[in-house]
């Protein structure tokens, strides 16, 4: 390359390069992203295959290959992007590469391989239409895909060094500074100091004889952030250009690129770029004959996080240990070797050429006032599309996370976003309308930092997050100043105590006090922001801390020492699922039954109709495989073992006459309380409004899921001499709370359930043909009335809607059943297997549709007016809100409409007027203290659906168990709230040796009756497992308990495994 001698040389050179480029725009080009991320995903293999194919087929003049840095869409790497059509073929395997090349040559799209949006399934033919790219403004990152970082010609083709040309032709450093100032560019390293102002100070600093330094800070140490690396790797010349301009602006002749040693590719590309720039005469003495000298050297950092801090960076460049120095003096006055030093982030420098090329005014149009331009974020964590995204400052977090990132990858809801790396803060989902800019983030208790964005969902424990980051900071604090070194250690120590169950509320106060002091008194930015993870999680997620400390529970199932075996922790009644599964594996079925029955008085019912949160948390499932079929195993046991095998421990009442307790409602909650109180010697009277005990088990759950004789047998096994059941007696009509106390009952439990469906709030809801789901199910289950006729519509997406739909399908005069749900199937709250079974049986599910009008013909329901929805912003529950599409109104012809949107408690009967002093909520549930279940009236407790609204059976049973304990404490005059019990296993069961070769890894299929047969009758759909299947399934269990039991009770193990 000939050295360019003057500005005119440079202009001429670019013209020649551009002219050459115009000649070859026709040739299709394969673009392979081969940054560090791409290479790690296998881009090198893809490149090799492409090259070999081109050589073999002699395609050299028909196709071009461009190897570039990271494009940002790291989720789909390795991929090939085809220019000029911008077809994107993601996650390619080596064997698929020739097919892509064939398609490019043939001018068609390979539909099997083209980018398809996950979960949605839409195929996109152009990169620019893909949702991940569509909302981005890729002024800086966008050029990465257009150029090969080791070819300076590529850079020239894309206006390379045009900004330098402009700057040199103006020959006015003040003009540059003015441009940068009026563009409003703020430093992208995190603090957001105006870049123009910094340059102005640097220019004014020092005297004319002193050397000055420009430093490009590429010491990017944040876990999960790699935008600086991608820029330096993908477009090194843009950084060099920014630095040369900075040097001219502030009058510096020395440039230093401080880059981490962990970025070898970035270093390599930068070194190549430096050599090329030197050869062309763009670096060195007297650049292009303009009298400006500028030379750049690379300094490699050794990987200390603190060296990203400017004073520590200077020490490191000087060759000392990287530790900060108290400012003032600022580096602008006294930096490297005591000379003025201007330190800018990589991304700031990448913006310079954009500003100079487009003009400050044009640049300032992007973003919001005070925060102009774009910012690159690395979007990682629990999100569908991870990668680097570049958006205008001021875009909301919600847009970045949901529109660009595509929302959560699975069903778990997104809970928070952590911005700014380890010393940033967490912003909860409620605040996702917050614009991402320097000032808003700081107000919200976080920082922009270098732009890391870690998305967290419900399975992330915020205390654990704070602990993780504090652990990082504790290790990375340089240790010079006492508050940062010791403060981070102590904060980590307290967080460790909290996550391991030793925390106290006093420690929480101390943690907060300490965090504030560390923030206030630390020497450098690292310490000053080190408290952010703690302070921001305390600000938004204090309840999680308190739950860890007070209740000793971690709801995200992360803190092992609080959770124990996840299946047990997930069960509301604390069933030791691991233990009975182990017994099944060992063939000890009676022991297994005892384990189940000890925790749960309704084992057979739950074996059929439980929502099995144990399986959702099962580690065999969360670690990537299929969870153990725990419910099916429970069914296997309860089908074989008689309830009489379990003989509960009974206590006689010691002093005087046993106290009387009244339970209103004979559902699962009420009966559970009655049973456990009876074991303590109480005399319990259960009042039931319906003719038979069972509550919702009878009324709402269809027989095909839960046969009647199973319920009856289970209830019979619970009733004993201490329990009297009085049926056909309802609160309000036959008995009152006051009356019960007058009759000598010491305590009253309200367990009425939720028996009223919530109306749609439309006109004509009371016409014949429209039924609330509970009424519909009750009419059938209790009185065998078949209300559904002809074409049936069911509105709702919960279990009650599915139950109603499947019951309707089995009724005599029904032609078809359609479920109408306002969101998509992914958001349906009903159990997945129920939805599947319903579809199998022929129920149609129409999603994204809401009813607007109930139309009648001669007084009978005949048509339903509907409107289509699209999904909008997420609501408080994290699910995306349905938004009506204007003009999509349509009418569906129906004969029966079942409304199953939600249920209310039958609270009419206990309004304060009738029963005196029991408060209810706005949602028509009884107000009860969550910890004690005590209502506003002393001696009156409430449990089950009447408190929570429609809920699962197992939650009702758990409430019932708790109510029994609370009532016992109350009657004995003891403190209601007792210390929490640990969930750690206490029993050791030797695992069964399984030959690893034969060990099964797939989950047993729950056998179901054939569709054709079951559709028209009410016989049970699910069939039990065989002994062989059960043993095989039980042996799949990972036995998470062993980890804990050995730690907590080594003597139990020594005793041969049987603690009892």
């Amino acid at each position: 390359m000939r050295k360019l001698q003057s500005l005119d040389d440079l202009i001429g050179f670019r013209e020649r390069v551009s002219a050459e480029k115009d000649l070859k725009t026709e040739t299709p080009t394969l673009v392979v992203s081969a940054g560090t991320c791409g290479q790690a995903s296998g881009a090198n293999d893809i490149m090799r295959i492409i090259k070999r194919h081109i050589l073999k087929e002699n395609l050299g003049d028909k196709i071009e290959l461009r190897i570039t840095g990271c494009h940002g869409f790291c989720q789909v790497e390795p991929f090939i992007l085809v220019e000029p059509q911008l077809h994107l073929y993601p996650q390619l395997k080596m064997e698929d590469v020739p097919r892509v090349i064939e398609a490019v040559l043939g001018g068609y799209v390979e539909e099997d391989l083209i980018y398809t949006e996950p979960q949605v399934g839409t195929k996109f033919h152009s990169q620019s239409d893909i949702p991940f790219f569509k909302k981005q403004t890729r002024t800086i990152l966008g050029s990465n895909q257009m150029l090969d970082p080791i070819r300076i010609f590529n850079y020239f083709e894309r206006d390379g060094y045009a900004a330098l040309e402009k700057v040199l032709s103006k020959a006015d450093p003040e003009w540059i500074i003015e441009e940068i100032k009026s563009s409003g560019l703020r430093g992208r390293g995190g603090a957001g100091f105006p870049a123009g102002r910094k340059w102005e100070l640097a220019r004014a600093s020092g005297d004319d004889h002193q050397p000055k330094f420009v430093v490009c800070n590429c010491d990017e140490g944040d876990p999960g952030a790699y935008m600086d690396r991608s820029l330096l790797e993908g477009n090194p010349h843009s950084i060099l250009e920014g630095m040369i301009i900075a040097g001219i602006a502030i009058g510096a002749a020395h440039g230093i690129i401080y880059v981490r040693g962990e970025y070898p590719l970035a270093i390599k590309h930068t070194m190549i770029a430096l050599r090329q720039a030197r050869e062309l005469g763009l670096l060195g003495d007297d650049i292009l004959g303009t009298g400006n000298d500028f030379e750049i050297e690379i300094v490699r950092g050794a990987g200390a996080f603190v060296c990203g801090e400017e004073t520590a960076l200077i020490r490191s460049v000087e060759g000392f240990m990287g530790e900060p120095k108290q400012r003032p003096p600022y580096p602008i006055e006294r930096g490297i070797d005591g000379f003025p030093t201007c330190i800018n982030n990589v991304e700031t420098l990448a913006n310079i050429r954009i500003i100079i090329n487009s003009g400050a005014a044009e640049y300032a149009k992007v973003g919001v006032p005070g925060n102009t331009g774009t910012k690159i974020f690395s979007l990682v964590g629990k999100i569908r599309d991870t990668g680097l995204v570049e958006v205008p400052l001021g875009m909301t977090i919600g847009e970045v996370v949901h529109d660009i990132g595509g929302g959560p990858p699975g069903k778990a809801r997104i809970k928070a976003v952590q911005t700014g790396g380890p010393s940033g803060g967490c912003i909860p989902a409620e605040h996702f309308d917050l614009p991402v800019d320097f000032d808003s983030l700081r107000e919200a208790g976080s920082i922009m930092g270098s732009g890391g964005m870690i998305v967290m969902d419900e399975d992330t424990c915020m205390v654990d997050v704070a602990k993780y980051f504090m652990g990082f900071l504790k290790d990375e604090s340089c240790g010079k100043c006492f508050t940062c070194r010791k403060g981070t250690q102590r904060m980590h120590e307290i967080l460790e105590d909290i996550t391991e169950g030793r925390g106290t509320l006093d420690q929480l106060t101390l943690l907060e006090e300490l965090a504030v002091v560390v923030r206030d008194t630390s020497m450098c930015g690292l310490g000053q922001s080190a408290a952010n993870p703690v302070l921001s999680t305390l600000r938004y997620f204090r309840n999680e801390y308190e739950r860890h400390i007070v209740d000793k529970r971690c709801d995200a199932f992360v803190c092992k020492d609080l959770v124990g075996p996840p299946c047990q922790a997930a069960c509301p009644v604390g069933t030791e699922a691991w233990r009975y599964v182990a017994h099944i594996a060992r063939g000890e079925y009676e022991d297994a039954y005892r384990v189940i029955r000890e925790a749960n008085p309704f084992p057979s019912v739950c074996a059929r109709a439980c929502d099995h949160t144990c399986e959702q948390r099962c580690r065999a499932g969360t670690s990537g495989g299929d969870p153990i079929a725990i419910r099916a195993l429970k069914r296997f046991i309860t089908d074989r073992i008689e309830p009489s095998v379990y003989i509960p421990v009974r206590h006689e009442w010691q002093e005087g006459e046993p106290p009387k307790v009244a339970v209103v409602g004979a559902g699962p909650a009420g009966l559970t309380t009655a049973h456990f109180l009876s074991l303590e010697g109480y005399r319990v009277t259960v009042f039931e409004a319906e003719p038979e005990p069972g509550g919702m088990l009878f009324c709402a759950i269809p027989e095909y899921r839960l046969p009647r004789d199973v319920i009856k047998k289970e209830i019979d096994s619970l009733l004993d001499d201490n329990i009297t059941v009085v049926c056909n007696t309802s609160l309000g009509d036959d008995i009152t709370v006051d009356g019960l106390f007058d009759d000598g009952f010491s305590a009253v439990l309200l367990a009425l359930g939720a028996h009223k469906s919530r109306p749609l709030g439309l006109d004509n809801e009371d016409v014949p043909g429209v039924y609330p789901s509970i009424e519909f199910l009750k009419a059938f289950n209790l009185k065998s009335e078949q209300l559904a006729k002809g074409r049936v519509g069911v509105i709702g997406g919960g279990n009650s809607a599915i139950d109603a739909a499947r019951t309707a399908l089995r009724q005599r005069d029904v032609e078809s059943v359609t479920i109408l749900y306002r969101r998509t199937r992914a958001e349906m709250p009903a159990f997945e297997e129920e939805v599947e079974a319903a579809i199998e049986e022929g129920v149609t599910i129409e999603t994204l549709v809401s009813p607007t009008e109930i139309k009648t013909t001669s007084g009978l329901f005949s048509h339903l007016g509907c409107v289509r929805n699209s999904l909008g912003e997420p609501d408080s529950s994290g699910r995306r809100r349905p938004v009506r599409i204007e003009g999509s109104e349509h009418v569906i012809e129906l004969d029966t409409l079942i409304v199953a949107i939600s249920e209310d408690s039958g609270v009419d009967s206990i309004t304060p007027a009738r029963s005196g002093g029991i408060e209810v909520t706005d949602w028509n549930t009884v107000k009860a203290d969550a910890r004690t279940l005590l209502t506003s009236r002393s001696g009156v407790f409430a449990a089950g659906d009447v408190v929570t609204g429609p809920n699962t059976i197992i939650d009702a049973i758990a409430d019932g168990k708790k109510a029994a304990v609370m009532i016992d404490h109350f009657v004995r005059g003891e403190e209601l709230v007792q210390p929490v019990k640990s969930l750690m296993p206490t029993v050791h069961l030797d695992p069964v040796e399984v030959d690893p070769e034969e060990a099964p890894d797939d989950r047993v299929e729950t056998p179901r009756a054939s569709i054709e047969w079951r559709k028209r009758n009410f016989a049970e759909v699910e069939v039990g497992l065989s002994m062989q299947e059960a043993t095989r399934e039980a042996r799949r269990c990972l036995r998470c308990d062993l980890e804990f039991v050995e730690r907590t009770a080594p003597d139990v193990r020594a005793a041969g495994g049987h603690a009892e």
Binding site: A304, V306, M321, E323, Q326, P328, K474, D475, E476, S477, C478, G479, K480, C481, F482, T483, R485, K486, G487, T488, Q489, R490, E493, D506, Q507, L510, E513, L514, V516, V517, D520, T521, S522, M523
Partner: protein, 225 residues
Amino acid sequence: MINLKINGIDVSVDRGTTLLEAAQFLGLPISTLCHMEGLTPYGACRLCVVEVGDPPNSRLVTSCTYPAEEGLKVRTASARVLRARKMIVELLLASCPQSKTIQDIAAALNVRQQRFRQENEDCILCGRCVRMCAEQMVAGAIGFTGRGQDRSIGTPFDSNSEVCRLCGACMYVCPVCELRCTYNEPEKAICGGCANLAPPCVDKPQFDDMMCYMQPCVACEIKKD
């Protein structure tokens, strides 16, 4: 001269005077630990923080390193300063409860308990010894190694130093050393301040002849008894 206001009092000082010196000139008590006259200000212990500027934009800075600025408003004992100082003392007490210096500072600030898990460290890494060795003794025998919780003071590669003259100045300036060097068994007598030097008092065969700059060197006292 530079004019500034400290706790509402107008004061004029020479350029380059630190806030600590200015405050001491006025007789205002500011506790210090890593600061020592004759050594360059280091700002590591953070005890001497003062509040500068007007709330809510005020901030805490270390007075030992902050140069006086024209028109600066300084408060040396605001609620925020005291809260920070007390927490720092609590942290110090939790780590080095045996130091007489730290006990005295705690007493002066009325800190009577610490709420962290008690430790018994022998060094707060204030760096006095390192600066003493480098600046006054011009030896540079010891320095910092490691970072974060692994930071410690020692000779290069933790081997016996060739430049150390066993002058003991490092121990003399150590604020937590006094009671630490109370043993006379060689393996326990090692003071963190000069971690890998051979402590002079145990190197000698006869304790009567030894040279020790500690006042009082309890180790010797014990042996004599």
